[in-house]
Structures are given as C-alpha cells and as structure tokens.
Subunit: 518 residues, 2 copies
C-alpha cells in the first residue's frame, strides 16, 4: 500500500479496496468536477399497479433484488443499539451463501459486534461506516479483510451522491410503513424519530428494501422515505429492542468538572455576544451538552432572548425550549429520547432534516455553516487545535465521526472536553488521528477555562474581561501533562498497515488509522 | 419532417427540434433503458457560508447563472393566471438581448399571451408545456418557430429525470422563501399552496433561481423547495395578482345537465361498490367535479363511509370532507382556493404531493394507479373510448394535459362530459388528437347516462340493475349526431406541418397536432 503525505502532513494511502483516493488538499481547497451518480431509470410497468410491494420475507426480497457476492449493502443506524434488523440481514445473507459484502451502515453500534463472525468468515469483506466499540477494536487489530472507511454523516451522503459509493441494495428498517414503501420513523412501536440517514440510500441505491414491524394502509404519512424509491416491503415481527432505540430519559452529567465546562460554554456564548435574538446553536446529547443546554436556557430566559433555531439531535431539554417559546424551531437530524420522538411527530416546528440539507458539502451550501455555534466533543485536541474523535491515545479505533466534521463549519465551533480523562491528557502535542483541522476549531472549553484559537482575535477581544480563565493552549497542555505525569504514551502502531481511513467532508483522505501492534 | 404511424395508428414525427423521438408503442409496452440525468456536483466552497444567496435583481441572477442563447428556462404554473414573474423574466431576457430560449413551463395561462411578442421576435424559440388559450391558437396557426411539446405533469417530471429535457436555469416563483433558498407556497401574500410542479426543476436544473415577494429569516418552514438545490434568491415587490392565483371561492356548476352528470358519477361509484370504507378518488376543480364531490359526500355520510384518501387539486369542498372526518387524508398536488391553501398550511393530514410521488411513470410505481377512481373531463371521446383533452373538434390547440394522462391509470377512470357542447358532439368517431388510449378509460358519464368500456365486464355486471341508463357508446354517438345535426365538421389541417406533439406518460409520441389551414 503506497502512502503519501497529504496537505495536513498525514500519511494516507492513494488506493484502498481497489479504489483510487484523493489525499486531503486543505480546508476548502478541493473542488469536485463531474456529475452526480445516475441511478437506473425504472418504469411503473415493473411494479404492482395497486402499489402493493410486499414480499414474504427478507430473503425473498434480497433474492428479487439480485443479491450476489461482492455487493454493497447499506443500512441506517436510527435504531441505534436496539437494532436487530441488521443482524437478521447478515444472518440471511450468510444463509444464502453470499460472500464479500461491503457493509455500508450510516453507523454501527455495540449490538453489531454480533457481525464479527461474518467479518471472520468472509460474508462481510469490510465496513464503510463508523466502527464503534467492538467492531473498532476488531478493525484496529488488523483483522478486517478490507480497509475501513470513516465518513461524517455529510460525507456519507456526498460519497453516495457523487458515485464514490454505489449501493446495490439498501435495507431500510422503518418503524412505520405502507405496502407502497412510504415509511416514517416518528411513530410505531419501534419509533426512532427520523429516517434521514437512509435518505441517500433510498435515492441512489439500485434496489431498496423497506423492513417494518408496523405496516399500515397506504398512505403512510409523513413519508420520510418515499415509496416511489422503494422496490420491496417486508413485514417482520420486531425491528428492535425499543428500550435501546431511544432512551426513556436522557441523563445530564453529574460530574462537577463537566458541569463546570458546560457552564463555561454557556457563559462564553453569552459574553461573546453569540447568544442574541435570532441566534442558533447545535449541541449533542452527551451529558455535558445537555447540561450546557440547561445553563444556556437560564441565560436566555434571564435576558429574554429567543433563538431562531436549535439543531438537534433532540432531547426533552430541547423540546422544552421549543415548547416554552425559547426557539422558533428545532431542526432535527435524529431524536435521542421519547420526548424528542413525540415532539417531532406532533409539533410542526420540530422539523425533519437530513444529511442532505444539513451536512452534504457537495451541495449548494448546507445548514451546518449557517449555525452560529456548535458545541462538540473530542477524544484528543492538539496544540494547533486539531482534533480527533475516532481513536483514543492508545490508538484503538472506538468511535465514528457522526456529524462532527460537518458541524465544524459553524460560525463558532467549541470543543467542550475535560483536559484529561482517567489521568490521560486530552490536550496533546499531536492527535493520534486527525479528524478536524484546527483552523475550523475556534474554542476549547475545559474545566480549566477556555483556549481560543489565535485566528479568532474577535473572540479573544470579546472575552478579555471575562470571569472565565482564558489560557494559551500550550500552557494548558503543560499544566495537564504535569497533573497526569506526562504526555500519554504513544501507541505502538504498524505504520505499514492502514486498517481504516478518515475521509474529510469533501471525500478526500484526511488521515489513516493504523494497526495496533499486539 | 418525417412522419410514421405509431402503435395507435397516429402519424407522428421521428424527430422534432433536433431531438429524436420514440413513437408510442402501446400502453405499458415501452420500457426505458439507461440512467437518470446527472446534475453537476457542486461544492459549498462556491456558496456563501452564511447561507445568504440573495442577489440584487433577476437580471443579476440570470447573469450569474450564465444565461445565453438557446438555453432552456423553466417556470412553474402555481401562480396560475395571476403570474407576473414569467412575463418579468422574459422582459429581462429580452433586455439582455438573449435569443432562442426553449421555455419549459409546467403550464401556461392566458396571462402569458403577453409572451407572444417574444415568440415573434425570436426571444423564445418554442414552448414545451401546455399552450392554453391564446398561446395555443398562436401555435395552431403555425406561428411558433419550433414544435411545441405537450406533456402530462408526470411526463414533465419523467422527461427531466430521464435527461430528455435538460433545464439550464429554473426560475421558481416562491410565495415565501429564506435567503438560503428554502421556499414554500403555503403562506405569504401570494400564497398558492404547493410548489410541487417545480420539484424536478429544483432537483435537476444546472442553476436554480428563487424569486420571492416574502423573504423571511432562515429557516423557511416547511421547505417545499430545498435551499440546498438553489443557487440564487431574488426579492421582488410582487409575484402576482393574488385574486387570480387562487380563487376566493370555487363555483359549483349550475347547469342542470352537468349536475345530472355529477349525480350519475356519484351514484355509479356507490352502486359499483367502489365507494366503500378505505376507498380513494380524485376529481378536479371544474364545476362538474365539485358537484360530484358534494353528491358523493352525501352518499358517504348516508352510508357512514370514510375514504382513506382523496387526491387534490383541493378546494373548500374537499377540505370540508377532511375536516368532517370523511377522509383520513387529502393527498394534494395543487390548491385551487384559499381554503385549500389554509388547510394545507394548518392540517397535517392535508399532505403535499408532487409529480414525482403522484405521477412519474418512470419511478418505482406512483400514486395514480393506487387511486380507486379518477373523475376527469375531455374535449372529445371516440367510440373506442379514446379521448382528447388538448384540441377542440375545430383542430385548435387550446388546453394542456395536466395530470389527466397520469390519472387514467386509476383503477376506474371516468370521463364526466356532456354529450355535446354548443351543439357540437363530444362523442365522435375518431378524436382530433389522441391524448388517452381507450383501454385505460372505463366509463363515460354524460347527461344521457353511462357508457361502460366493454373491457370492464365487472362494471357492466355491477350496473345491470341500476337506475342510471347504461348505453352502448356507438348508440350514444348516433343519438348525439341526430340532436346536433351530424358529426362535427373535420377541421382543415395541414398534415405536413406538425405544430406540437403529444407525449405519452413514458416519453413516447402519442399524437401530433397539425397546423390549422386558414
């Protein structure tokens, strides 16, 4: 495998899994040429006139879809750790004797560690999509046949739209669907909220199979997935373990350090003048992000400020803000708890978005860069504000990128991270894996205060008299190293063996993940 | 121009405007090969990061979009006869000195007779889209430089999707929009309901311009047109004459004959067993169709029957049925009155559809064939149930096809027509222009009763003991000829000069419209 240095100085392969790769050229430096993917033209002649596309089993649907060795099969992750459809899917593929599948999930979860046996026996050749937890460890150890490809949610849409990834068969688990294939995630016993991560799949795959445990008469309204893109509908007893699809409750952090970080971020938005009438923000559903939302809410109420929109992943805390009139809209990409699902179903101002609207970098703009501030996490941040979200300092691949890279394009991107975890510094000299170029990261918020990117003189000025400590990131690193007894040990990596690559939002290769030496 | 006989025995050209044409092969006989159109890949680098795509004028937008001679410019007809944007557009194109435009509207209206001067001076080369009223007459007289192309709403989507028609610049009038280009028709001073007829344009055109008179802060919710497909946004003072965009009221026919036809159709749906719990129907917004809806409603109430869905075009009568619980949903393609617009905006069960979901024949099925019964009009019907909707018996091209051809695919298609108009028979030996093959037309309802297509033995049987007269269509023709003093005089046509072609839903050429001899 030939490796070359890309514009960020990272060694990346020029080809993987038989596909030529373009090395990262720098932020906003690579402009695509060419045209979007062009799915085959279909005709109504080949589909039932009465709109009934139900086939008797998933196996039957896969047969009719022409499943064969080496195909690319996609799934979505809206069922999260409660998903049983994907495991059923690969049981079926195994049973059919089909091999060398490229699995193209929008993300994987620990529940999918079940699939390791299919990675081992050659049913699955490799995964393109996040390899969280056990699948990541398996990959890190060099056990996967092909090379993994990590993409952001927007990058996944881009790769399908641009024809980089051709999906042969998309299998879309749908909490509610009709026989025509119209489908929604916002209702039904396995309700998960949205199905937006499957949008590209439904638009561009050669064949699309809807799998549902809640079949209703045509029309399924709303149709988050359009039946006009669907080939077959399969009824199953159960899509998943509902308690693991969405939480009944989402939990705010109880850690005093993380609460402090959350408070700092809220105070910063206020003092830097970002929190003003008509502003917008995006945070996640982690404990710190939830605490931040609550602190921010108090500040907004105190100053009588209303947001124009809040980007989800939504939780009951954002839903409360919507219902209390603190924002005009929630623009949501996924719902994390039952209140989020309810609100999406009932409130027209809780609006469905997709990786196309929100994140696709190869569109005519996207929502991510319109957002005033995005509050994100990271596993590591280096002294040049570069950040990592996929590996830990021990080199293990344990997380996906999600929408993280896409959100870096907000007007003010804040990484809210503890300065160390389990006595391992989070602030480092150089990130193990580069996921986010430092020039897009404006502020690091830790329990020790803020580090502001020197490029953002405006923010440095605005925070001059703040009560929040504002530190030079290099000083913070020294301080943290002192507390932890030095920088984290460098992982032992086999630099000849790339186990996965990290794509940038434009489809170029930002970095490589290397095999862990045993 | 070389003409050949197609599968329906009609003479059609093999090439028009420099594009090769496929003659009609028969219903469900032509299967497309190949792939969909593939728009150029764009990048966020080329669009403003803050999402503000406003440019100062339509002229500016057209310049930035690279307008030049011979381009294809598309518009939609949701502003109907109140549209002033299209006329402004061509004033601007004329002012810029650009020539030979192919104008690709989803339909045209009498207000667009203003454009005849631009057809005469070479600004517009020809029209592909309905040529209603004055533009139709202009075309019939052989005055248009190119050959017109008439497509159904579904056929228009199909032609764009399949790459038959490449739109260089789409100009989309939007009653409400944000600076990013998200746009909706369901609110704003020029509110028209939907923008679905511009969907294909927004998805496939090289450049997309939104023109709005109601600019609101991002996000414009709902976004019927997605800003991610939009290049430029232009603010103007006024989109149109609101009184002509949607009616304040829609009027039911007062003609005793038409009321009788409407009553026959309602009675037929009831007696033939089509009107049952969970059924569906589509009618139009003409006076007869409205009367039919009212008669049907009474029958539904009397028998305590609820529809699963009603297809719009919607009016206050359908809205009343939705609000009174007589249907679960209205699946709407356009709104004809203010009540329709209000309901679409306020009622989540009044659902937006598009030519893609409803009518595109080159998709994985569409809604039209799922509908239990469609009640339509016609200018002529022949003794083989073939029908015409674009020309009159005098040969003049005066109407567009609309969704008519697409609706023929319903499970029971009924043409509700008077047997004669102004003493000219509607029932004829052979239609002047073939728009709908008789095998798809099940019932002709006139003031003299029903004619049932002999292919539909089930319906003939069901109506055996009905109080509605059921006649052989040939007998009806004789009777009508007697009343009118004979069959209509054949128009004098120049059979060497095709002025327009009528496409079938699959993109093949069903018939030709010939020049009228003076």
């Amino acid at each position: 495998m030939k490796l070359i240095k890309n514009a960020s100085g990272r060694l990346v392969p020029t080809e993987i899994n038989g596909q030529t790769q373009i090395p990262f050229k720098g932020v906003n430096k690579y402009k695509p040429t060419g045209n979007k993917a062009k799915p085959p033209i279909r005709t109504c002649i080949d589909y039932p006139e009465d709109g009934n596309k139900i086939v008797k089993s998933l196996k039957d649907a896969l047969k009719k879809a022409g499943l064969k060795d080496g195909m690319t099969i996609s799934t979505h992750h809206h069922l999260r750790n409660g998903d049983i459809v994907t495991n059923l899917l690969f049981d079926t593929i195994k049973e059919m004797g089909v091999k060398n599948i490229r699995w193209f999930p929008s993300a994987s979860f620990p529940v999918h560690s079940y699939l390791i046996k299919y990675l081992e026996d050659g049913t699955i050749h490799h995964i393109e999509g996040s390899m969280n937890g056990p699948l990541g460890k398996f990959t890190s150890e060099g056990k996967m046949k092909g090379v993994g490809v990590l993409r952001s949610h927007g990058g996944r849409y881009q790769s399908v739209q641009d024809g980089e990834v051709h999906i042969d068969i998309a299998v879309i688990a749908a909490p509610t669907a009709d026989p025509f294939g119209n489908a929604t995630g916002d209702r039904g016993p396995s309700g998960c909220g949205l199905l937006g991560f499957a949008l590209a799949d439904s638009e561009y795959a050669d064949r699309v199979i809807i799998v549902t445990d809640n079949l209703i008469p045509f029309p399924c309204v709303p149709w988050q997935i359009q039946g006009n893109n669907v080939d077959f509908v399969v009824k199953v007893d159960l899509l998943g373990d509902t308690s693991k699809i969405v939480s009944g409750t989402t939990e705010i952090t109880k850690s005093p350090d993380r609460l402090l970080i959350a408070e700092y971020v809220a105070q910063f938005l206020d003092e830097a003048g970002i929190m003003k009438d008509g502003f917008s923000f995006q945070a996640g559903a982690g404990g710190t992000a939830l605490a931040f939302a609550i602190f921010l809410k108090e500040r907004m109420k105190a100053k009588n400020i209303k947001a124009r929109f809040i980007r989800g992943g939504s939780t009951k805390y954002l839903v409360q803000m919507l219902e209390e009139g603190l924002t005009d809209y929630i623009l949501d990409g996924q719902t994390f708890d039952l209140e989020g699902v309810r609100s999406m179903r009932e409130n027209p101002n809780h609006v469905n978005t997709s990786p196309f609207t929100s994140y696709n970098f190869h569109g005519k703009g996207n929502f991510a860069s319109i957002v005033d501030s995005a509050i994100l996490g990271a596993t590591e941040v280096d002294i040049n504000f570069n950040a990592n979200v996929v590996t830990h300092s021990d080199g293990l691949l344990l997380h996906g990128i999600g929408g993280w890279q896409n959100c870096l394009h907000s007007k003010c991107t804040i990484l809210a991270v503890p300065s160390f975890r389990d006595r391992i510094p989070v602030i480092v000299d150089e990130v193990t894996t580069l996921c986010g170029p430092g020039e897009l990261i404006d502020v690091i918020a830790t329990e020790r205060g803020l580090c502001i990117n020197p490029r953002r003189k405006d923010l440095l000025k605005a925070m001059k008299n703040s009560s929040i400590p504002v530190n030079d990131i290099k000083d913070l690193k020294k301080e943290v190293d002192k507390i932890c007894g030095g920088a984290p040990a460098k992982p032992k990596l086999n630099k000849d063996k790339v186990v996965a690559i990290v794509k940038w939002v434009d489809g170029t290769v930002l970095d490589s993940v290397f095999q862990i030496e045993e």
